[in-house]
Symmetry: C2
Subunit: 527 residues, 2 copies
């Protein structure tokens, strides 16, 4: 029997709260004990990744309290209910099945008479077959020439995740001989976005993927028209250059406007759709279906880690609960995501959506206000770039901001130079190692302008290399972290009612049905 | 006589503090009074821009208190001291002269016997002459063919600002027939960054700009070697494909490794260097020196607005002080920058550095700890993309995050489609107008999951179009806002000691001079 209780109703949270700021990281990381701590505070993940929390302000007392919280909040049981097909998205009365797109953790899930795992596999296979035809030239343009470029038209979850995953694997795929098609992305309703992308591609050899679950997203339909106009102007048959990824019930599903349609359903939230057809179409076309499958396998392997009850063996749950401790006991309001990997340049923007749209809520899953802080601000840039940007504030600013580092031993391309006795890759790794210690331990200086207080907590996920598998595992880790935090805060992480009001008012503006301040602002824009 | 006092030592701040949260924006923006408020709360900027603060929680009482704060903190006098060449950067004992790169607001500034305005103009002219030669083919590759691509190698301020400015004008320049060369950027020490950029350009027709004030930035020198190796491997003479932007005293200044060298000096901070040679070289090569000059003119025109004592007529100072009120009285910890313009896709990342590196400090300009919050977290993405990402948290999360919107009546490219009775550009503008009102006024709903509390403050900068001039004005606005906030917080906004410790520890890692936790983390990365 699952109890959905607010965080502050849990006795384990009162216990945790009473511990306060129990651990001084600076002391904990000092000397030989510090070295031991780094060795001990490692949790193995899938695909050769590991999660290290040595620089987090936790000790066994705090971890025991977090374990008690995990148990009392029934995090494992709630995850189990989710993957077994209960209605976890209470706001929209929907199942939450994104894990099922990459593996099956529990019972068969049947909805509307359909086995959902079979359905997702079937879509994956349909995409694989279609991609193979595009790659072979069996599906080609009117002149019988192969398509060379794929352009995804989508916004939010239909853009950020797939774009981040594409960029994460683009150079790996080029280096490993599995790069098939260049991918581009059109998202913004700003006409300059579509115009610039269209101007930069060879339309006659471009295949467009229209991605909209409902088939009604304003930005996406507008950009579709933009693209169709351009194709028509170029003397091309738009319907021979476009496929759709949508739900079976959408107006796009059976339209003759598309070469093919691939399906997702209401049980896959946009921000969790990278492993569904939404990511599958573009990634399978760009890199080949086998690479997409390897990415799914990585995610599935990491999902399995998330079923573990012991937080010390469940990196996503541990990461989630340390985050709750930092947010609700230590009072930190943001988390910086800092991948030391240029390939992950768009990963922070994807996590920003995945996390902030899921847990930026003020009511619990029953619609009652909560009295505690929920989802933090998520922001970040790749290192070492960030070091030359906002790290000043992270080191010496008046707020403490917990840090989530990501790093890899090897680069993707492998091309490197040796300068002053080390390669660029070693320099990159040396920097992330140095930053963890600099943030945690600081350094005393009589000149307070050069003084570093330390005590700034971080964790790091380390891997051998960013590959399709490890990228999948990384994505799964954060998706599951977000889910566990949502469970702990007792919010519904799977709806997004906060995006509606703006849409409603924008329609009023366009219909000229405004008065007062809204009319004045519209006038400023000459609408 | 200027007094440098901490914020909490000012009687005007005590007064401001006592006002607390004085204004309910929801009420203030309602009905006909709301319409009047939108009309009244507008401050003209240069180049057709205007700053509107109707949706900020301020009224005449708060504004009067902010004016008193501006006066007591001597913001105008401090700016005057700055542009007249006093040592404002006390930490590094340096003048702060970035405004002088685009105009002269006060007296002649002479340092080391050199009139600095003349020096900056001379560099601008040298770059213009060089760019003209590159464009005419007088400076060409070994085969006598024109260079087509320019690649900037730099990090932090030598990357973020110039990159954001280039992207902001790229499509405008293409549309207006002044696009000369494509620009690319290499910044990260991650070898995959340089390798990917090099693989994507035609080396024989590429001109590289090495940008490092000191000539010692590790990332930049490493990437220079990376590029030189690639040029040499391609059978090209690297010294004929590379120019330098550096200080006259740097080892790069008179090296035969470069076709030419252009200078900046210690009085231009990296994050404020877009209007110096650092931005000048790449922007003049990409778009022509006349376009770079128009950009400077826009910045100069906006700088003039910043000398005004009346905050109601000085948009940068007003924006700065509303920010101080929000940070130190209302307790908001972050600001989201939300440009409704795809061309400004990298502008938030640039402001993130400019702001967080400048004001993320815990000690005042004398090195004494301050007892109040200083620089907030800055993050953002272009709209409407952000609406489908993190706006959920902005609307319904448990923290209030002030918003800085930017929007333009017209797009840059001008290509558009009319769908459902409106163009994409009108939809874009309708969305930003709608969001301001949605955030401020909210909307009651019995279902609290669909309820919007409102009371979320924002301001907006509106312009006719993003052009070289309005981009310059926009940049100046934020640079001056940051400066005024630094003055109000009594911090030195022009040094960045917080970036040093990480560098020192990274060197130790690479020299294998580590023990304890640092050694363990290094081992995890196989260093």
């Amino acid at each position: 029997m699952i109890n959905w209780k607010n965080l502050n109703e849990l006795s384990s949270f009162s216990k945790l709260n009473s511990l306060g700021a129990a651990v001084d990281i600076t002391t904990a990381l000092a000397g030989e004990n510090g070295a031991k701590r780094v060795r001990n505070c490692t949790v193995p993940m899938a695909c050769g990744l590991s999660y290290n929390y040595a620089a987090k302000a936790v000790d066994d007392t705090v971890l025991d309290a977090l374990q008690a919280l995990a148990d009392e909040a029934q995090l494992t049981e709630k995850f189990e209910a989710l993957y077994n097909g209960e209605v976890i998205n209470t706001g929209e009365k929907r199942l939450v099945l994104h894990q099922l797109t990459r593996g099956q953790l529990g019972n068969d899930v049947v909805a509307e008479g359909v086995n959902k795992r079979s359905f997702y596999l079937e879509q994956q296979k349909k995409i694989a077959d279609f991609a193979a035809k595009v790659h072979s030239g069996a599906v080609a343009n009117a002149a019988g020439e192969k398509f060379t470029t794929v352009v995804q038209i989508g916004i939010g979850g239909s853009d950020l995740g797939p774009r981040a995953m594409y960029l994460a694997l683009e150079n790996w795929a080029k280096t490993n001989g599995c790069f098939r098609m260049e991918a581009r992305f059109i998202s913004n309703v700003d006409p300059d976005d579509a115009a610039a992308v269209i101007a930069s591609v060879d339309l006659a050899h471009s295949l467009f993927i229209l991605v909209s679950k409902s088939g009604t997203t304003l930005e996406t339909l507008t950009n579709e028209s933009f693209v169709k106009n351009a194709l028509t102007k170029a003397g091309l048959d738009a319907s021979k250059h476009m496929i759709a990824v949508t739900s079976e019930t959408s107006p796009l599903a059976k339209s003759s406007d598309y070469l093919a349609a691939f399906f997702m359903d209401d049980y896959i939230g946009g921000r969790f759709s990278s492993t569904s057809s939404v990511g599958g179409a573009v990634l399978s076309l760009a890199f080949g279906p086998d690479i997409f499958e390897r990415f799914l396998n990585g995610a599935a392997a990491e999902d399995k880690k998330a079923v573990e009850k012991d937080i010390r063996k469940n990196p996503a749950m541990l990461d989630a609960l340390i985050g709750v401790y930092e947010r609700n006991v230590l009072g930190f309001d943001a988390t910086a995501v800092l991948p030391y990997s240029q390939a992950l340049s768009h990963f922070p923007a994807h996590l920003q959506q995945a996390d902030m749209e899921s847990n930026g809520k003020s009511v619990n899953r029953f619609g009652d206000p909560v009295s505690y802080k929920t989802g933090p601000i998520i922001f970040g840039e790749p290192g070492t770039n960030g070091q030359h940007s906002f790290y000043q504030l992270l080191h010496q600013g008046t707020d403490i901001i917990p840090l989530q580092f990501i790093g890899f031993v090897d680069s993707q391309i492998g091309s490197d130079v040796d300068i002053q006795g080390s390669t660029s890759q070693k320099k990159l790794c040396a920097n992330v190692a140095a930053q963890i210690v600099a943030f945690a331990c600081g350094k005393k200086d009589e000149n307070l302008n050069k003084n570093f207080k330390g005590g700034r907590p971080s964790s790091i996920i380390i891997g051998k290399q960013l590959t399709p598998e490890s990228l999948g595992a990384l994505l799964s880790h954060f998706e599951n972290k977000i889910m566990f935090q949502g469970f702990a805060w007792n919010v519904n992480s799977f709806d997004q009612e906060g995006v509606q009001l703006g849409k409603v008012l924008a329609k009023k503006v366009l219909a000229h049905e405004t008065d007062g301040a809204l009319k004045e602002f519209s006038d400023l824009f000459e609408i």
